[in-house]
Structures are given as C-alpha cells and as structure tokens.
Amino acid sequence: MSKRYWRSALALVVLISLFAACKAGGTTSGTGGAAGEPEVLRVWITWGDNPAQLQELFNRYAEANNVKVEVNSPVEDDKVIAALSGTEPPDVLVLGGPDNVASWVNEGLVTPLDEYIAEYGIDLDDIYPAMLAQGRYQGKLYALPWGSDTYGFYWNKDLFEEAGLDPERPPETMEELLEYADKLTKVDENGQITQLGFVPDFSWGHMEQYIRLYGSFWFNDDGTKVQLDTPEMAAALRWEQQFYSRYGAEEVLRFVSSTGEYDSSEHGFMAGKIAMMVDGEWMVGDNFIGGLAPDLWYGEGPIPYPAAHPERKGTNTVGGTVALIPSGVKDKDAAAKLLAWMMTPEIVADEMVANFNLPSSKKAAEDQRFYENEKFVVFMDLASSPNATYQVFTPISSDLLDELDLIEQQVLHEGADPEPLLQAAQAKLQPMLDEVVGK
C-alpha cells in the first residue's frame, strides 16, 4: 500500500545524495583536477571597487605559471570567517586591514610565513618597516602588507577664500585647526548650521592618527598592555570634543548626518559642506573626489600636530591591506609562491598605481607613475617620512575598538568626560588581554 510512497521517497533520497555528491565534488578546487588540468588557486580580496582590474593582474601570474587564478572580490567580512574555519579556505586571503589577524592567529587559523620567506625569495628589507610591523604577532610573521594606506589633511580652498583665509595655507597646529574651524563654521538665524569647519570623527581611521600625534597609542609596542587610561588619550578626546561642544553637539550631529553617503557627491567634504577633514589617500582617486567631485578645489597635506610638539609634524599611521595564507590551505607551497609574486616590486607598483594606494615596497615606490599626480605625491612623502608610524594589534583589538568607539560617541556626541569612561574600559580590557597573552 505504501509501496509507491516508499519508492518515490527512495528515489528522492537517491536524487538528493547524487546532488550532494555532485556539489561536494564540484566545489573542491584548490589542489584539484585530474592530471593535465591546471591547478586552480583562489584569491579572496575583501575590498574591491574594481574587480576586473584585479583579475587581470592575477591572470599574469596564471599565464606565467600555467595555473588558473580565481579572484573573488569584494568579499563580505563574515564570509571570511566562514572560509577560514571551513575546509576550503582560499589560498591567499587579502584583507583591507590587519585588525583581526591577531585574533585569528590565536584560533589557529593563519599559517606562519617565516619558513616561506627565504624559500620563495620574499625580500623583507624591501618592505617599509612600519607596514611590515602590522603582520607580526608574538615574534612570528603572519601577514605581509600589499600596498598601504595613510591619512592626511584635506581642506576646501574655495571655502577658505570665502572665509578670508589664504587657500594655500592650511592650519599647521591642532590649535590653529580649531581657530580655522571657527572661521569656517556658519550658523543661520535659526541656529542651524549651514557649514562646518571640521568634524573630527567624520571618517574612520582618525583615532589612531590623533593618538599618535599626541604621542601615545592604545596598546604598548609588544601588545601586552592596554593604554587607554592615559592623559594622552583623554587629551585627544577632549580636543575632539571641542569641535562638537562649541557649536552644540546636537546641531553638529544633525548637520553631519544630513550630509550624504561616503561615496556620493553629497559627501560632506565633496559637497562643500564641511571645510576640512582627515581622510585616506584613496580620496584623491577616481573612485572618490577625482570621479565624484572633479571640480572641487582642494588641498592636501599632513595632519596638524599639537603646537607643543613640532617634532611630531608629519606623523601619520600607515597601515592597510595585508595578505595571508589560511592554515587550512592544503598546498601551502603553491600559495606561498603566489604570495611571493604579489610582493615583487613590479607587481606592487602596478597594483598600487591602479588603485591609488601607497606602495609597500621601497623599490616599487621609485616608480615614476606614483609621482604624476601631485596630489598623491603628498601621501607618498607622508608614508616615507621619519614620523610615519603604525598601529599595534592584539587578539582583543576588535573588543577594544568597539569600546573606544562607544566612548568616543559618548564624549563627542553627548559631552561626557573621557577619564571615567577610559578608566572603566581599561579595567575591563586589560584582564582580557592578560588572559589571551598568557596562553
């Protein structure tokens, strides 16, 4: 009676298992393929405004080595975890920033690269030390920088001229910056802001610049101590706070939130609503100001330093893209070979020129193409300045950054005092770091 039912059920089960077998077999790339088929290497890149250009770049390796390289870009951050912890991670993973590398190393998800350096001829001396430092953790090297970013100061020359300021003379010190902001902020009869001089937390990547300018950082150099509860940290936050409290935090927030998306021509700076900003070197490229606001008359230079410390002029924190090999990769040699190729000066030069990023290789930095765009030159100089420094990362980096973000919001947007908040965060995070480091 239920024979027919069972027959169809059985058929279904068979179908599903066939399907499963097919799919499972089909998705296995990596060191796969029957003899004669080219090996497939997978490269995942979390950012990617121009995936076509990336694929083209990697095709050069593919042709030269008789393999196939599949570029997946952009990749959502969540997918990265899934891939790393799964059985089919990409052969090379390229991240926008090294924030999570330390915590992944802790979970055993990343391959140490030291043994592959000599074997595949990766020239560590060719890499800027500040950029190389990002990939080191507990004495081992886990990631290599592939191009880098840094941050500079931008100002709107038109608005300077309108306000009676010399468009070719940006503020030198942080105190001057405050004065300029006053002149460049306009409020109408109703008390509403129509133009803002400077918004300290406008872009991401600002906090590390300020704290370095103030002479400190939230981790010590070997990543064993949390340094939030310091006078420098409080001073930096208080300096930022002024830009909100002077004009009324609520009004400033309203104004800022009404400016457009980061990548739109309604971006606060690009639309001429915010006169000065701290942002990355990619801004000058075609994906941003170059393409969205080509008419903008603006200048770029180093971030202002605290007047009491002129020796810190030109301080900037470099950091950015890093490439690593997940620990689950089966053919690590093939991956290391690809990674080594990525680090060669010619490749670094080509890739960074195309994307308006800073080269991480000293030899690549000699490529004349980087100096054609005078706006970009400013950032090249910043990256090679003696005051160029770096960020320190630990496995609790993302917890600390979450806390710091909340603190910053409370200090700037709600006028809170930074000291007690920093103390509380310090008390919470130091034990966490101790636990992780102690392992």
């Binding site: 239920s2 039912y5 059920a9 951050d77 969540d78 975890i81 912890s85 915590s103 979970e107 055993g108 998800l109 937390d201 406008f202 872009s203 991401w204 990547g205 600002h206 906090m207 927030l253 309203r254 104004f255 800022v256 939130s257 009404s258 457009g260 998306e261 980061y262 990548d263 309604e266 620990s327 689950g328 993302s398 917890d399 950054l401 979450d402 973000d405 909340l406 919001q409 409370q410 947007h413 709600e414």
Partner: protein, 322 residues
C-alpha cells in the same frame, strides 16, 4: 481488509487488549506518513539543540580543542553590559512594534474594506511594499530618514516640524526601524481583510438595525470575530520579533561602510539580541553565542506560554462556540 466492526469503547477495553494488531498497524501507518517530519525533527531540531546546549558550556574553538567551562558563559553574559542592552532593545521592539504592527494592519484592513472606489488599486499599493527585497527596502528607508536631505524630514518641514535625526539619534533609531517595519505589513493587512470579510453580514446588519454605530459594530462584532487571527499573528509576531535581525544588520553594515559606526550604532541603540549574537559568532565566541541562543529560546517559550494562557480570555472561536 477486515470487515468493519465496532471496536469496544476504550474505557471499557482491558489494558492488554488496547494494542490490538489494528492499532499497531495504524501506528506504523501514522509514523510512516510523518516520517519526513520525524527525520527532520531529529536532524535539524534535536541534534543541533543538544549540541548548542553543550557548546554553551564550553569555550568552543574551531581548529583547536574546546574547553569545558561550565556555567562561565552564562555568568559572563549576565555581567555583559552589551548583552543587557541588546535584550532591552529587542524587548522594546516586542513590546511596541508587534502591537503597533497588528493594530495598524487591522486598521488598514478596515480602511481597505470601505465601500469606496479604487479599492483593488489601493490593495495593490498597500501590499506591494511587503514584497520588495529587504536589502533594497532597508537602504531605501535609510535614505528617507536622512536628517536634512531625506523626504520624511522635508515633509515634516512643510508642516513646520523640525524632524529629528532619525538614524543618528539613539532615541529615534528604534522608532525609525518601527516605521520602516510598518511599511511592510501588507501581508498581515490582507489576512485581516479576509478575516473581516468573513464576518457574517447577517450579524452586522442585525446590529445596525438595533442601532449600533460603525464603531460599536467594529468593537463588539468584528474585532472579536477576528480574534483568532490576532492571536495567531501576535504569537508569530512575538516569536519573530525576538529574532529580529535582517533590517538591523543591513542598517548597520551600510552605516559601517561610511563612518566608523559599528554594529548597533548609534550608541548601541540598534544592537538587537540577534545582531549581538551574530557579532559574537563572527568574533569566534561560539560558546558564548550558543549560550545567548539558549537564553533566547527560554524567553520565547515563556512569552508564548503566557500569551496562550491569556488568550483564552479574549479570543473567540466561532466554530467552537466558546
């Protein structure tokens, strides 16, 4: 097949004889029919539940051995400020958004039932937003809520009201999400509409003759008659709202792209339980996330039971004549 004969009434039949061959065969038949469910239940419900319960008592690592830590995850949770924030945020939505959605869905259904021209056109308009993909609608509304440039505040401006900073003011972020949620209730509206149309016309006419006005007819007849729908949607609504994730996640990921706002911005006001759980999952705190999941389950169980208990007071089932 055997010839039909009457079985002895169960209460009279001796215990031994209850499991007659016939009964056994019917048990087998029954189980066979529901076998897909049984398999699914074991594979997709029981097994993961047990495993996640075990995980919640460990510090779970992916490529390294996991460590049994007993109740530590739970005690850590209770001291985690962000856990309580996320719970409060989600409870807020359950307490306000669910009744609001139901109330408005019913109200809009009443409107769509009015005898005026163009109703079929209006019905399409009310229903359409509920099938727009959630990614698109979330982003669309993010733009609508823009403080100075969005059309909502522009519209309020015409009325002389200074609209708030919907997405950057912690006090207004959740109301903004609720308004956006309201936009997609077309599905529930249609369900209520059908329920309202099912109310026997004879009852309504009798009431009208007796002198009841439209509000009294609504209150004393229509609302009780659709109370089963209300109960069903209330329970489903509560269960779903406790798991509220997608819109908040998209809001957060779009905002994170532009400024340094992390999940839950501004100031953790949109850090919902499910969002925080996902964040713990992403930062590889899997045991912790599992503990959060189990606490959520218990909360939902309690709420559902409470709702069902109380429902006996205010629901009316015509078929059962309660």
């Amino acid at each position: 097949m055997e010839a039909t004969h009457t079985l002895p009434a169960p209460s009279q039949a001796p215990l031994r004889k209850r499991w007659s061959a016939r009964k056994r065969r019917s048990l087998v038949t029954g189980l066979l029919f529901i076998s897909p469910w049984i398999l699914g239940f074991l594979l997709f419900n029981v097994y993961p539940m047990v495993k996640s319960l075990v995980m919640s008592f460990t510090e779970w690592h992916l490529r390294m051995p996991s460590v049994w830590i007993g109740l530590t995850n739970y005690t850590d949770l209770l001291q985690d400020r962000r856990f309580w924030t996320s719970l409060a945020n989600t409870t807020y939505m359950v307490l306000f958004a669910v009744p609001l959605n139901l109330f408005c869905a019913f109200l809009f259904a009443v409107l769509l039932n009015l005898k005026i021209r163009g109703q079929s056109f209006y019905r399409v308009i009310y229903y359409l937003p509920s099938i727009v993909p959630v990614v698109a609608s979330s982003m669309l509304w993010m733009w609508i809520f823009n403080t100075n440039n969005g059309i909502l505040n522009a519209f309020l401006g015409y009325l002389g009201i200074k609209g708030p900073s919907w997405l950057t003011d912690p006090a207004w972020a959740k109301p903004a999400l609720m308004i956006m949620g309201l936009w997609g209730i077309g599905n529930t509206v249609i369900i209520y509409l059908s329920g309202i149309q099912d109310v026997p016309v004879s009852l309504l006419e009798a009431a009208e003759i007796d002198g009841a006005n439209w509000f009294q007819r609504l209150w004393y007849i229509t609302i009780p008659m659709v109370s089963p729908i209300t109960l069903f949607n209330l329970i489903i609504g509560v269960i779903d709202m406790f798991q509220y994730f997608t819109q908040a996640y998209i809001f957060a990921s779009v905002q994170a792209g532009s400024n340094a706002q992390r999940l839950g911005a501004p100031l953790d006001s949109t850090l919902f339980y499910s969002v925080y759980l996902y964040d713990r999952f992403q930062t590889l705190r899997l045991g912790y996330a599992a503990a959060m999941a189990w606490i959520l389950f218990i909360i939902i169980l309690i709420c559902t039971l409470l709702l069902m208990r109380s429902s006996q007071r205010w629901t009316y089932y015509e078929a059962e004549g309660r």
